[in-house]
């Protein structure tokens, strides 16, 4: 953060961590890793380490927040005090409150909320280590946690950002690129229907650059979608095996 490196992309078109512009960071996903949550998932994307847990469908507390015709999905995005350079107070910041809202709104369209009227589902996201793009990785993990909880869903939601660094549109910005780059465009999508459920942007992009960034982010989402499905499959196979062993 102290001094701006001369170049975020070198002469060979490589980024600070030697990725190509349209390359994702390493991603590792695990589903069903918490014993108390009804569903859970863990994601590592670059140095991001994020846990998501889901409780529900269940009775709403307080009751007056329940809705007669649908389930209410609540989401809390929270960062551990040690997840960032300078210790963060555990009290929710304004940024965390906004992200909780937009992440919840990004997940909700994927859920058949009308199946369980008057109930609630809580999605809890804990960022254990943050390195840029936490909201996207959180959505990717939280959607898996919802699936793991058996909540009926239209599709998984998968999320990835693109942005502009130096003069190049790049995929999946890490922290330094996010802070020193020109723009960041996080996108979440249900790939089956191409429905964009999260779209934010800050920075400075010409309209054509913005279009390019959205397209690249969607491209990234599709690649992560495969990893999501693979992680679900792995969990399912493990659960099946376990059952068979029991029998």
């Amino acid at each position: 953060m102290s001094k701006k490196p001369k170049k975020l992309i070198d002469k060979k078109g490589r980024r600070l961590d030697s990725r190509k512009p349209n390359e994702l960071r390493n991603i590792r996903i695990e589903v069903g890793i918490l014993s108390n949550a009804d569903g859970s998932a863990y994601i590592e994307q670059g140095k991001n380490k994020i846990l998501a847990g889901v409780f529900g469908p269940k009775e709403m507390h307080p009751k007056h927040l329940s809705r007669p015709d649908r389930m209410v999905l609540r989401c809390r995005y929270h960062m551990a005090p040690f997840s960032v350079e300078e210790r963060k107070s555990p009290a929710p910041s304004r940024r965390e409150i906004e992200l909780s809202k937009v992440i919840g709104e990004a997940l909700e369209p994927s859920v058949f909320v009308e199946y369980y009227p008057r109930t609630g589902v809580d999605v809890f996201i804990e960022v254990l280590q943050a390195d840029g793009g936490t909201r996207c990785a959180s959505i990717t993990a939280a959607s898996l946690a919802l699936a793991d909880a058996g909540i009926p869903m239209r599709d998984l939601v998968v999320s990835c950002a693109a942005g502009k660094v130096d003069d190049t549109v790049v995929l999946d910005l890490m922290d330094t690129e996010d802070k020193l780059g020109a723009a960041d465009v996080p996108v979440a999508v249900m790939p089956n229907s191409n429905a964009v459920t999260l779209l934010q942007m800050d920075g400075n992009l010409a309209p054509e650059e913005f279009e390019k960034a959205v397209n690249l982010a969607m491209e990234g989402c599709k690649r992560i979608y495969d990893l999501q499905k693979e992680a679900l499959r792995t969990k399912y196979m493990a659960a099946k095996q376990e059952e068979e062993v029991k029998e």
Binding site: R94, P109, M201
Partner: protein, 263 residues
Amino acid sequence: MSSVITRVRRKQIKQLIEEGKRLDGRGLGDYREIKIEQGVIEKAEGSARVLLGKTEVLVGVKVETGSPFPDTPNDGVLTVNAEFVPLASPSFEPGPPNENSIELARVVDRGIRESKAIDTEKLCIEPGKKVFIVFVDIYVLNHEGNLIDASALAAVAALLNTKMSNYEIEDGEVKIKQGYTPLPMKNHPITVTLGKIDNKLIVDPWLEEEQVMDSRLSMALNDEGNICAVQKGSGGYFTQQQILEGMKVVQEKVAELRKKLKW
């Protein structure tokens, strides 16, 4: 909440929009009447009141001195806060900011910050020690829909109206001198919000449309026509196609709104 809409009304709104019409007679791409009044709070360093139809937002700007952030020692500080004043709507409760007012404040903040509207380097008094802090307080006085556009517009209008006391540094202390200087402004972001109702995009949704619409998309454009902030909100989704289509509409409406904002 007394502002919940009936099923009949809901159907009516949707049907009209299907036909390219709106309950209040507007076309899908029309704003409500816009009034901008600057300098309404004499005690504030800057202020503006915006009426968007019956939606009313007052923004007051106070300029004080304080410490810069450690990582930007040469820059003044911008702080945007939004209050959902309870007399503005039966759905507003007194109390600390909630997720809705925080989202509003942060969207307006991003438009101003990312477009570099304020020349924050000129707000530095003593690097690393003392800078001017610009407090932008958004006060929603009547909520009839589309608070984002009304607030963003009022914020920029208020900043354009803001004057700061002249000062001198004497022995490390800031001494106020006679006279005022306008707040140094470099850009003028304009935010336009679209609603999506059954795959139709509408501009400037009002309260009842907000209760019917599937999703919302706001974009802030700077003087050069570049995009500096985007926020999709309110659940639902947009297709990739709708986003690009929406961008075109926004470009058009920003040009229209920009004319209302004299500077």
